[in-house]
């Protein structure tokens, strides 16, 4: 099947701005699904609110467009009740880590088999360019006219500390790498997090004079380096790219399956 076969093509062209990285994330994700040969009927995509969240309307899966920050909580109900489904949960940075921060760390702690994708454009795009918990210091935003003083979360460190068993980062510039990481994340049994730096030329780029979409993407090439590379070792200011964590821990639904087995045996006595 072609990538377009996974789309609800009647809604195209999509609603994202020209050059928005979120379209590339969709592109990379669909290629991952296609290359894995997953059955569309077996996939549920759950999203929250924001530019990122509109992704669920475009994919020809079971799609659940929920509330701001709550995508993982809804997804937990879907997955727990029907573990054979594949859960894809793309979220924006504010969605996943401000209003949805609690759900994010607890989904990671449970190690429930869900793939969380943080589409990190470091800004609230839908509401017009306010800073997010991933903006970091010294950023201009409509709610930070004098630049931000808020420190940012490091998604990789946060997810790792919270117990995610697969943690990776890439960018929209590295689209091939994104597909490869997403494939691994989807196949991983447990809570997987893939942070994808995704440009917002309309708000973040314009406010912070980062140029057009292509220039912002090129910047991703310059400010990142592969995990384990000499470049990253020598320059701690660079963002690491690739797989940070890949570990095995008991998965939540599997463990609950054991509880059910135990309880049913007890009830039969």
């Amino acid at each position: 099947m072609a990538v377009q076969d996974y789309l609800r093509q009647r809604f195209f062209p999509h609603m994202w701005c020209p050059g928005c990285g979120h379209g590339t994330v969709l592109n990379s994700l669909l290629r991952a699904v296609e290359e894995l040969g997953l059955d569309k009927n077996n996939i549920v995509m759950t999203s929250g609110i924001g530019c990122s969240a509109r992704i669920s309307g475009y994919v020809d899966f079971h799609s659940l467009h929920t509330l701001h920050g709550r995508a993982l909580a809804f997804a937990t109900g879907v997955k727990m009740s029907k573990p054979e489904l594949t859960l894809l949960v793309p979220m924006g940075d504010g969605d996943a880590l401000a209003i949805g921060g609690n759900h994010f760390i607890h989904a990671a702690r449970r190690n429930i088999d869900i793939t969380a994708i943080v589409m990190n454009n470091r800004i609230y795009g839908m509401t017009g360019g306010q800073f997010s918990p991933l903006s970091g210091c010294g950023i201009k935003a409509t709610t930070a006219p004098y630049t931000t003083i808020d420190n940012n979360f490091d998604v990789v460190e946060l997810a790792t500390a919270a117990g995610a068993t697969f943690v990776a980062r890439t960018t929209t510039y590295h689209a091939k790498e994104a597909t490869s990481l997403l494939k691994k994340a989807i196949l991983h049994k447990g809570f997987s997090v893939v942070e994808i730096l995704s440009q917002c030329p309309t708000h973040f780029g314009r406010k912070n004079k980062e140029g057009d979409a292509a220039q912002m993407m090129e910047n991703y090439k310059n400010i990142t380096a592969p995990v384990g590379s000499k470049a990253l070792e020598e320059n701690p200011a660079l963002w690491g790219r690739g797989i940070f964590v890949e570990r095995e821990r008991p998965e939540y639904c599997t463990e609950y399956g054991k509880i059910v087995e135990l309880a049913m045996k007890g009830a039969a006595k």
């Binding site: 809604f11 799609s63 659940l64 467009h65 509330l67 109900g77 054979e84 607890h106 059910v260």
Partner: protein, 382 residues
Amino acid sequence: MERTTKFVQGNEACVEGALYAGVNFYAGYPITPSTEIAEALSGRLPEIGGKFIQMEDEIASMCAIIGASLTGHKVLTATSGPGFSLKQEAIGYACMAEIPCVIANVQRGGPSTGNPTHVGQGDINQARWGTHGDHAIIALTASNHQDVFAMTVEAFNMAETYRTPVVLLFDEVVGHMREKLVIPAPGEVEIVDRLRTSVPKGVDYRPYLPREDGRLPMSDFGDKHRYNVTGLYHDMWGFPSANPKIVNELLRHLVDKIENNVDSITRYKEYFLDDAQYILISYGSSARSAIHMAKNRREKNEKIGVLELQSIWPFPSELVREKCANAKAVVVVEMNMGQVLAQVKAAVDEPNKVFLANRIDGKLITPTDIKGLLRVIQGRGI
């Protein structure tokens, strides 16, 4: 299978009702005075192959049951005031996306933390208007354990029938009190199961297109039809729409499917109403005091009756108007500042003859409290 008799807390009666109705997914967060519901289901659900999950907060619990309902499960969460506040956003989502689910709110004192271990009935209006925007809701209540069981079963049935969230408005006294419960034999009480679409695979399925009888057949996530669910205004396929005609029809549908069925949804009990000159209207644990007081006064040949409401929303205005038409006075007995009182006043022909007997101090209103007020109304003095 036989009926079984148990001596249980009201919260356990709710659990038994939920299990009888077919609950197979529960998500919740500990909160007094509802926690026993979660505790009991954490043991009982896996015994029948169901799922229990303790979520990170009240919001997540509400979201998780909506997710599980979409895979075809019968779902429940339980909470109390502060948790009920937190759940409102997702309750609105369930209204908008028309997802069957049941929320038990074992009421305590409020606002805010109020008093977790003492009774209150202050969430009547929050059940109706807690979430923003125009919508309708079903809220049921009960004053004894047999009725807690029955109303819990009804809540699940109505959630499926109308594709809507249903709120069970219990209270701390009913939740924690122990009394006898007779669990009906399987099949004795009707259970409404999920209505699933008969549209075959590959044929256009419209999840928000009502049948002629108004019901909307569903399709489970993971099953043959892939559709969209959103909290945005949406068309009959579930995709976002801002088309004024579609939006107008959607909002009217959401309200009408419940408000127009008030007669089918209304549940109540009446005691000595036929010749009653004075009518007490009550619900939940307050109704126990009202019924007790009426029985006592009947022995003294006073013509007092009780209308016990078991469904609060949609409010049974017509029923109240009819029952109160010949009363000299109507006394609403409740443990709040007059939330049902306002509805009764709006419903009856002579609002000036409606009075409030209430307590809001965390103590159960007593027959003596009600009697005192009634004597004043009757011009007999306390």
